[in-house]
Subunit: 118 residues, 2 copies
């Protein structure tokens, strides 16, 4: 199973808008986008990649251990981000009315599988 | 019920380490801390307040609507943050093995109550 198949599986969760494998530099390796986006999910994910990098640094500095996940909820979008390794992360943007728990769970399950393919 | 009582109630959730009402400037109005902290939760919360402000700005810029919640998970600490109004937010630091869902739920329920007292 390649990147795209994993991302497509993630995008089957209720309320999914887009899923992507991205570098901490904000450059996507692959992105799967659901139709009918209300918000520019791709730009949002790029913007959040910078924030993810900052959170990772802060957590290290404060000896809180490695960053495992970041969830950002706004009125129009819930975004789950999960590091795959030191260079790449997995991100899922979804509707705030979507299945938060399942979205989060899917990233946890898929991250190690994607790591094996990087 | 005052700030402290609300924060004490939040801190009753399984795995709670500290709960605080803070300004976006990183200055706490009140903090309730559970004993036996493995990580310096107060410093972590101050550091995260800056990140919360940045996420809020990014979400506004990208028309994703107001920031409703932010969750940061690291190996040693899960931190939920939720804006109360434009100046203050509620934050709960907890063990990664703690009750994630209930912690998140409590912030959602308590934020409007704390807003009435600000």
């Amino acid at each position: 199973m390649g990147f795209r198949e994993h991302l497509e599986e993630i995008c089957q969760v209720d309320g999914a808008v887009a899923a992507s494998v991205m570098g901490f530099d904000g450059i996507a390796i692959d992105t799967v986008t659901a139709p009918n986006q209300a918000v520019d999910a791709e730009t949002l994910m790029i913007e959040y990649s910078g924030i993810l990098g900052q959170v990772r640094k802060a957590a290290e500095l404060l000896k809180a251990g490695d960053l495992t996940e970041l969830t950002i909820g706004t009125e129009r979008m819930t975004t789950h981000l999960r590091p795959i390794d030191s260079e790449f992360f997995l991100v899922l943007a979804m509707s705030p009315a979507g299945n938060y728990g399942k979205g989060r769970y899917l990233l946890r399950v898929k991250a190690p599988k994607l790591k094996d393919e990087l």
